[in-house]
Amino acid sequence: MDWNRILSKQVVELPRSGIREFFDLVTGSKDIISLGVGEPDFVTPWNIREAAIFSLEKGHTTYTSNLGLESLRRAIAEYVGGHFNVGYDPACEILPTVGVSEAIDLALRCLINPGDEVLYHEPVYVSYAPSVQLAYGKATPVETSIDDLFALNPAKLEAAITPRTKVLMLNFPTNPTGSIAPVETLRAIADICIRHDLFVLTDEIYSELRYDGQKHVSIASLPGMKERTLLLHGFSKAFAMTGFRLGYACGPKELIELMCKIHSYTMICPSITSQEAGIEALRNGTPAMLEMRESYRMRRDYIVKRFNEMGMDCHLPGGAFYTFPSVKRFGLSSKEFATRLLKEARVAAVPGTAFGACGEGYLRCCYATGFNLLEQACDKMARFCDSLKPQA
């Protein structure tokens, strides 16, 4: 077979995920403590699992409407209204999807004409730029830095806008930096989007996991933004439901209707089992979520303190379950550091460069791992960092 002729050039040329690359390196290694995982270490709370089992027991094993179960959409509208302070009509402004990933893909395909530009902040989750490219758009990163605690700097954002810029993608709290955008930053970004007529895709999957006791603010809730924003959220992180593959998009009905057109041809609907589990999560999952959040907070405080003690400069991230310590003072690149850490200390962490070029000099360390394992990982990393310091 002449694969050069057969395979799509566009996809062949799409870069592989840096996470995937590192995964191949870790796979097969034994006795590794992994801080490289991007999901909760908790099992889905029992009441939610039980709802899924009950759904199967009742014989609910069919397709649902392409828009998903009406009862799920109503539960989402109620939850989103309370959590994000934005009202959406469950009849036409909400689309349950197979994770936020599907929603991002659908939205980009519905928004982009070939050559349109999409801005996103880096370092950020690995799928944004490839999803834009697959929709024949041009993905333009706007670098963020420790100076802004990795929140998007409005001036840098505005400088990156061109006449072809159509969409801005946001992810706060951010994977991999745990960054939270301050409200005044969000206001400035909203103002820029309105002035330049940009549409906003905001992936707020980590919005429950914020540790400063403040309420999460969505850019969709700011004046004039609801009409130009698609709010993406899901169940994976807050309710430890990654394997259920359930997310949703909330936004203007014109866009939701178009997204549902692709969705009806490709996914049809998320599994009904997941949808019914999702209803239970939204209605009765908050106490378990709060317990998990408190547990993440304890681990965040511990790991950040240990990292700073061992000589990795690490800011206290405001949300998600990632730390993004700097390894610059050890004189190694992110990838070299992560590779040696894996080989010599048997601890896996993802090089910051997997999330964009400006992640150079950083590591993503996920603290959604048992406290005992975190202690062991920190001890091993501390010895490794000591071994890198110049001997007196």
């Binding site: 490289g36 995982v37 099992v43 799928s127 994977n175 405080d301 896996a348 406290f371 202690e375």
Partner: protein
């Protein structure tokens, strides 16, 4: 640091050292130690015991006891007398169809039977007993016995 957050930690793992408690709660080791000590002195923490799966060994029974309350003291004096027996591992006053729930552990059925007939039933004030033997433990003190093998996450994920 609140006493409640320390209790919550110890209830999930009583073997945590003061250093580990301090790490988890973000306080100094001395503060963790002092809080633990005050909880012990106040009697909130009564003791630290291993939760042993002894289904395969020994016999346990749950005994429902009906008894006559005393004027002035209610069930307290009788309950305290029953609780002092070494065979009795737990003893509760409860609402419902009987008065005391007594949990007993012994080496054999015969020993439990002997305890019930010779010691418990014959006490003054005890009206009747009903003995239920444990067949299998599924969960104790919040811990599931025979946990299924945990499902491993991928070691690196997005």
């Amino acid at each position: 640091m609140t006493q409640e957050s320390l209790l919550k930690l110890l209830e999930s793992d009583a073997r945590l050292s003061d250093q580990q408690i301090a790490d988890r709660l973000g306080v100094s080791v001395s503060e963790a130690a002092a809080t633990r000590a005050s909880l012990e002195q106040e009697g909130r923490i009564v003791g630290y015991r291993a939760i042993v799966n002894d289904d395969a060994k020994g016999v346990s029974a749950f005994i429902e006891v009906r008894c006559t309350p005393e004027r002035g003291g209610g069930f307290n004096r009788l309950a305290a007398r029953i609780a002092r027996f070494e065979e009795v591992k737990s003893c509760f006053l409860i609402s419902g169809g009987f008065d005391l729930l007594v949990m007993v552990e012994a080496d054999s059925l015969l020993e439990v039977a002997r305890f019930v007939s010779e010691k418990l039933s014959s006490m003054e004030g005890v009206l009747s007993t009903a003995t239920h033997f444990r067949l299998k433990t599924y969960k104790q003190n919040g811990l599931l016995f025979e946990e299924e093998v945990t499902h491993e996450r991928l070691s690196v994920a997005p």
